[in-house]
Symmetry: C2
Subunit: 363 residues, 2 copies
């Protein structure tokens, strides 16, 4: 830098030029013995340039390390905000939603721009700025819990967006989310319907991935059936290992419930694996219902009964909804206030081998 300034003292008029100089289409045109018009056409992949000319231009671009300073935006991007933790894309929940999003977006001609999600940026101002900076037509947010938009008076209706996954408060937000309360309720109701009366729950202490709402559904179902929670284990971790420790804890008690709701698949997998190691037979000794996002629960030695999240379809639905918003905002630029969309998804129960009717009926 110092050198450049020193040089430029010799020729003050070149000061700015020297300091700022980077390759422009003018340089390319010169090097390729062509014009800026043709370089521009090649840059943008437009037809009507002789192959030889295009080749010379491409060569010059490579030789001079050309990168344009700006270009006309095409708005062919959708930004997807990814939960900001390590190895996030390996979670089946996120991978499947994202898979639904990319498959649909690619088919529609959009590209996908991934960005880490940042709680601080969850307001209309920052989101709009991000869309502008990324030249994006809209954004999709994969949510893990209900706290993505903490402010009560948020209103995103003027920005094309869809939040997909778990529910946010209903304040001017477009979202497609799992009805976790109902899922918890349905899972529990099923156990009650097949005769269980001593039902416990294994859950996670954090609000993420609907654990809390699932627990509330669980309690509601027991209440309606006038039953008490038999055993409730709450863990600080929602991993396979945590599930194993829950099993050790439960089966070292004097008595244990005849059925269990486990609020996510990793906990359930760990629990069932460890139960087996301890000589407990599922479903003979205990029935288990869980919530699943991958194929794993169905491939265990005892395939598990589970509430199944349709993550891939949710990704597709979210992308289609976003596309509608984008098209609408193109049509009537001065349209009146748009109603925000809030679509709740009821997820199905898949009955497999980890549950069975209660055998001992008291007379």
């Amino acid at each position: 830098m110092t050198d450049q300034y020193a040089d430029s003292e010799l020729d003050p008029s070149r000061k700015v030029k020297l300091f700022h100089h980077m390759t422009t289409i003018y340089d390319i045109a010169k090097a390729a013995n062509s014009s800026t018009a043709s370089v521009s056409r090649v840059m943008n992949g437009k037809a009507g340039v002789k192959p030889e000319t295009a080749a010379r231009i491409h060569k010059a671009m490579g030789d001079l390390n050309f990168q344009p300073r700006w270009r006309v935006m095409e708005q062919n991007r959708l930004v997807v905000l990814i939960p900001n933790y390590k190895r996030a894309l390996e979670s089946s929940y996120i991978a499947r939603i994202l898979s639904g999003i990319t498959d649909t977006a690619f088919k529609m001609g959009y590209n996908i721009q991934l960005r880490p999600f940042n709680t601080k940026n969850c307001n209309p101002k920052h989101l709009r700025q991000m869309l502008i900076q990324e030249a994006a037509a809209g954004c999709l947010i994969i949510s893990l819990n209900e706290n993505y938009f903490p402010s009560a008076d948020i209103d995103l209706t003027s920005l094309p967006h869809v939040i997909v996954g778990h529910k946010q408060k209903d304040n001017g937000i477009n979202q497609i989310f799992i009805d976790d309360f109902k899922a918890g309720y349905d899972a529990t109701k099923y156990l009650i319907d097949i005769g269980h009366q001593q039902i416990g729950i294994v859950s996670f202490s954090q609000i993420d991935i609907g654990h809390k709402a699932r627990c509330n559904g669980f309690r509601k179902a027991l209440q309606e059936a006038k039953l008490d929670t038999n055993e409730s284990i709450e863990l600080d971790d929602a991993s396979i290992d945590a599930g194993r420790s829950a099993a050790r804890h439960l089966f070292n008690l004097q008595k244990h419930p005849t059925a269990l709701v486990i609020t996510n698949e990793d906990l359930a997998i760990g629990f069932q694996l460890e139960a087996k190691t301890m000589g407990i037979t599922v479903p003979n000794d205990i029935s288990i219902v869980t919530f699943e996002e991958s194929d794993l629960p169905s491939l265990l030695d005892t395939p598990m009964t589970a509430m199944r999240t349709p993550s891939y379809s949710m990704g597709i639905a979210a992308t289609r909804t976003l596309e509608e918003q984008i098209e609408n905002s193109k049509k009537d630029k001065q349209a009146g206030p748009i109603e925000s969309l809030s679509e709740s998804i009821t997820i199905p129960l898949v009955v497999r081998k980890s549950t069975q009717k209660l055998k001992q009926i008291k007379i």
Copy 2:
């Protein structure tokens, strides 16, 4: 459109204006009672605009549906080319590589741009055009087989790029890939070392994900030990269901090998599950070694012995290598020819419960 033209007939001078008119920063400045300079500052998130002014500008942007026609590029993107098939991102192989890429790229301050991979675009000209169009500093290509760059005289050295996954021919390409031949060899060598002499293979008829190279490694190991392939099953599909059908086929034969190499995890999972259903005990009746990309093989009832692909680390390594290339190309713009990098990865064997020493020793 017709209406606009009709209107414009009244005032020919406005023809172009009317047809092309979209909101510009000039309109925003007017609506927000400010100047284009301030609008530009707000757009780019620069400091030095009074909050109230910025708020007026943001409001105007929302009201007028503003999107800039272009902006100064920041080259803060990396393009990742994703294999172009449905639900690609759900495959553990791709998800984990991508997870390594995004975690590393985000940490470095890059964003990730996803694009479907297209065989036709696999030449320096199209790749360069794509980098320009996406305002990207470089690209990462997740490869499934060796045929991504069919042309023999390709030379990508002037473009920052890394191909990660399975090997391409070595012609001016930077790549990080699994040594599938050695992996097949090592898996087989292990079975031989623990006493097996009747060893079969279950594989896939396509070239993808290293099946062919793994088979070649398998044959080489048998050859060296002067053994013949006991049974070889080649399937047209590499799914869990195909694995199940392979098991039905094998165990309906009069005799079956004492050990088996299965060239991917889905085939192996299906095979082992079906074997169990048929009353075959692994590893007592047959030992199985497979190749794994997810946690699934380790969570089965009989956890499987497998060659483990370090996909996440490969994603990290590829991103770091790409970043080095980008930094180098920034430093010396007219540097001489760069040597292409070709890094082969030897993957480890994880011994679990699906293999055991051969019991019956012939005297």
